[in-house]
């Protein structure tokens, strides 16, 4: 932690910041990568960076904003690998303190709620079969085979349906963008 006080007191304050934010940051990252191993890696990177660079003498809202900003950057970089875009490295940004986005509320489940609401809204706008296949696969976590049985279609058709449903959903999200 970047602080001049460098005392046991500073350690305690840093750990208090960690305790206050670790759940929310993990959830924030998890909501964007969808799996635990990656969510844990990225959460770890956020806080390890905080050890090195976070100025704990800042007011609480700024500290919170800083953590979310670093988390966002970590998520953006994570997805760059999938889109085969060059990684960006602008060192100064994480250390700056400007707010970049509406703050998710670190003390509540607001971010997760918002994501769940967005998903429900998205499913409602899809044709029935598309919404059904995504619901069975992602919300109920059925396998492709189980999904096929529930829908009374072949395994191959379930895969095709899932693919088309995702395409359509992605188009809707893009149109909203």
């Amino acid at each position: 932690m970047a602080t001049s006080s460098g005392s046991a007191n500073a350690h305690r304050r840093f750990e208090a910041i960690y305790d206050e934010h670790v759940t929310a940051i993990h959830r924030f990252v998890y909501a964007r990568v969808g799996n635990r191993p990656d969510a844990e890696d990225l959460t770890g990177q956020v806080f390890m960076r905080a050890v090195e660079q976070l100025d704990i003498d800042r007011p609480a809202p700024q500290i919170s904003a800083w953590l979310y900003r670093v988390a966002q950057n970590a998520v953006a970089d994570y997805w760059r690998a999938f889109y085969r875009l060059p990684q960006v490295g602008v060192e100064q940004v994480a250390a700056s303190w400007e707010p970049v986005m509406p703050q998710p509320d670190p003390h509540a489940d607001a971010d997760a709620d918002r994501a769940a609401t967005a998903v429900r809204g998205l499913l409602k706008r899809l044709p029935d079969q598309y919404a059904k296949v995504l619901e069975l696969r992602f919300l109920h976590r059925l396998s492709v085979a189980e999904t096929a049985t529930r829908l009374g279609i072949s395994h191959g058709n379930a895969k095709v349906l899932q693919y088309r449903a995702l395409r359509k959903a992605a188009l809707l999200v893009e149109a909203d963008g």
């Binding site: 932690m1 350690h11 840093f14 750990e15 960690y18 759940t23 993990h26 959830r27 998890y30 909501a31 964007r32 990568v33 969808g34 799996n35 844990e40 890696d41 959460t43 770890g44 806080f47 960076r49 905080a50 050890v51 090195e52 900003r69 670093v70 966002q72 950057n73 953006a76 970089d77 994570y78 997805w79 690998a81 999938f82 889109y83 875009l85 060059p86 990684q87 960006v88 490295g89 602008v90 060192e91 940004v93 994480a94 986005m101 997760a112 918002r114 994501a115 769940a116 967005a118 998903v119 696969r137 992602f138 919300l139 976590r141 899932q162 693919y163 959903a169 992605a170 999200v173 893009e174």
Partner: protein, 254 residues
């Protein structure tokens, strides 16, 4: 549509829903937004809403305490001064890829620090602090133990590690993997330190050897067929010196 492209996406989704770590391997560009959306759907469908594992929270706390005590290589995460960076132009697809409710995040990310970026050799100080503040030299091996390509385990108050002879250069490397803290094993055949937990390999300079940057599709790495998926910071490198026939490491006083 039953072609390889679809298989890569199917594989991604299956891994995701089984709770594993999905990889971008084989995915074509226009499927990335679908994978991204699938990840967010999977997250939204998880009833525990991404509540962190308490064991993870405690493990990370310990890693941070170690780092703050100056015995980790987090300082290696900083880019060297003047490191080049790329501006990324945002397209509609770029905006799509941030998926549900996170458009602002990508915009931020586009001008953002890359904390997954591999870093250069770890400096021995962080924020101007020495790796070991108040220490002493401790003999951990003799030169006779260290012909070229050899490694000797050592254990001091501050570090568990190896001293190695990397083609004539003596170096001390922590044996703590910078991923989750597992203990690395020396593999003489491959001249690396290997993590038994998730398979990261570090070369005798302490840097990740089987990461995705520098990965060659043809030959892979030391029998690995897949690159290690995360760019880990380099290993901590305690100061080392040779005096007479002795190899000494700068470590904390007992």
């Amino acid at each position: 549509m039953a072609d390889e492209r679809e298989d890569a996406l199917d594989q991604f989704i299956d891994t995701l829903l089984e709770g594993g770590r999905p990889a971008p391997d084989g995915m074509v560009d226009d499927e990335a937004p679908l994978a991204h959306l699938a990840a967010e759907l999977a997250a939204a469908g998880n009833p525990d809403r991404g509540q962190p594992d308490p064991a993870f929270v405690e493990q990370l706390r310990l890693r941070m305490r170690d780092a703050d005590a100056g015995i980790s290589s987090v300082q290696g995460w900083s880019l060297p001064a003047g490191a080049p960076f790329h501006k990324v132009r945002l397209t509609r697809r770029d905006l799509l890829r941030v998926g549900l409710g996170a458009a602002a995040g990508l915009a931020a990310g586009a001008g953002a620090i890359s904390i997954l970026r591999p870093s250069g050799p770890a400096p021995l100080t962080g924020n101007g602090r020495p790796l070991v503040r108040d220490g002493e030299w401790e003999v951990v091996a003799t030169l006779a133990d260290l012909p070229e390509g050899a490694a000797v385990r050592f254990s001091t108050v501050a570090f568990d590690g190896y001293v190695v002879n990397d083609a004539g250069t003596i170096r001390a490397l922590s044996s703590v993997c910078t991923h989750m803290g597992c203990t690395l094993a020396y593999r003489e055949k491959w001249q690396d330190l290997r993590c038994p937990c998730h398979g990261a390999s570090f070369n005798l300079s302490g840097e990740l050897a089987n990461g995705s940057s520098g990965w060659s599709e043809g030959s892979g790495y030391a029998g690995d067929t897949q690159a290690y998926p995360i760019d880990l910071p380099p290993l901590v490198r305690p100061k080392v010196k040779v005096k007479g026939d002795d190899v000494l490491v700068w470590t904390a006083r007992a």
